[in-house]
Amino acid sequence: MGLDISKIRGLFPVLHQEVHGKPLVYFDNAATTQKPQVVIDALTKYYATDNSNIHRGAHALADRATRYFEDTREGIQRFINAREAAEVIFTKGTTESINLVSSAFGRKFVEKGDEIIISTMEHHANIVPWQMLCEEKGAILKVIPINEDGEIIFTEFEKLLTPKTKLVSIVHASNALGTINPVKKIIDAAHSIGAKVLLDGAQSANHLQIDVQDLDCDFFVFSAHKLYGPTGLGILYGKRDIFESMPPYQGGGEMIKEVTFEKTTFNEIPFKFEAGTPNIADVIAFKAAIDFINDLGKDEIRAHEDELLSYANEQLTQIKGFIPVGTAKEKVSVLSFNINAMHPYDVGMMLDANGIAVRTGHHCTQPLMKRLGLEGTVRASFAVYNSKSEIDKLAEGVSRIARIKNK
């Protein structure tokens, strides 16, 4: 039994509007997904009935808010199959999660001459923190090359691994191309020489079953807003023993056990890494998003999205002037492309005039674009509420734009 897409669409109020006089077709899901009514309601309910600071208040509201907050942590633990809820840290987003690891893990474990490995297809958020760390420590950043289809070259990766490799930080699924990396193989190879692995799950957590124990990754990071949840909330999963060996990231309230002016002792994980009042409302509302995904079933969602991707490929490849970018065998529902001799900005704007929302540009992956010899691409990315008839509209729009240029 497939999913009832029109029923699912009904749960997302934002989808039911016109843009420039045309019904909205929202294909910018890799940037952020829309929010179902249950998530919006959970936010409103928290502020209307439960608002309180958590973990310390000696009153009913604080107790309730704390319970809901920790419920989300447990929900995420189950969602990614972490061993325990304490291995789930709340941050501002994927970017902050990576920065937390580069600061706290990097400060302690990376030294002069050590090596960190990333890939050509990383988002700037998984490049710049490591560059900053390498500069500070005198460490070396190495980059796994990719082939023409946009897949990493595994044998080249193996050659980069040395006893000096401290960390491999790699994207699970590429935001610009959709490529799903062979992360299990990468993790095994990295572990065999004693390196740790961080997986950037910003584009995978929404589409793939995530089992951090089975993957055996040391860190896994993602953002709530790409999983039908609120903005401004990220997740950092890490193995307990590694977290415990890391110094805190920021100092403040919540992360301490005891403070005297002479010395401060730090709290246990997860609180050690959650200084200050956290983003309580969004954490609580994120639980509704996780439940929404679990209720539909991740495998069912993936099957629907895969079907959309292959349908989009079928429809668009027939159009003269359509150039797909990123043709990996394993992909999440991201379709990057260009139209012959047209700048992606122009294509994006013309699609927008037809009510179709896509992303255009370098997608925060400038080194990848440089490697592919492109200024940027047009990216259509699909979520559970998208339909084939919307893809027909995209194909119609692309075909019209391509015709002007081919005139």
């Binding site: 006089g21 700048h343 900005y345 122009d346 704007m349 013309m350 927008d352 005039a353 037809n354």
Partner: protein, 143 residues
């Protein structure tokens, strides 16, 4: 030669004909880009690009008989159209006219809602750069 105000009125009435249809408006802007004169390849370097534009825009200027002559190009068709609109109003005018020009057509045609906020910032950068060139030529004339 029509005055700056007259040219702006012309542009406004052309856009009025297009009405609210966003797609036709964009096609029209792209077509306008075709009217730009050829841009010399040897001038396509970093110093001649306008900072603050997401797409690449090259702009050069020289002076002839007290008037400023601009030549511009871009790697995107819409941006070419936008700069051609500006040059239609401001090309071959005295530095003083350019500096004092009130470009009210931008608001009158609702440029902000046609091109969105990011491109509007780029468009503002183009205007700034054109006026900056005019200022340089005015300073030279007065020297």
């Amino acid at each position: 030669m029509s005055s700056i105000e007259e040219v702006q009125d012309e542009i406004v009435s052309e856009f009025e004909i297009l009405g609210d249809d966003k797609e036709s408006t964009i096609y029209y802007i792209m077509e306008l880009g075709g009217s730009l004169e050829d841009f010399p390849d040897n001038e396509r370097f970093e110093e001649n690009t306008i900072k603050g534009c997401q797409s690449k825009v090259w702009l050069i200027a020289d002076e002839k008989d007290g008037k400023v002559h601009f030549n511009a190009d871009s790697n995107t068709d819409i941006t070419k159209g936008l700069i051609s609109l500006l040059l239609r109003v401001l090309n071959y005018r005295s530095p003083e006219e350019i500096i004092n020009a009130k470009l009210d057509f931008v608001e009158r045609i609702g440029m902000g809602s046609i091109i969105g906020s990011q491109r509007s910032n780029g468009f503002a950068s183009m205007i700034k750069q054109i006026k900056l060139y005019a200022l340089v030529f005015q300073t030279k004339q007065n020297a």
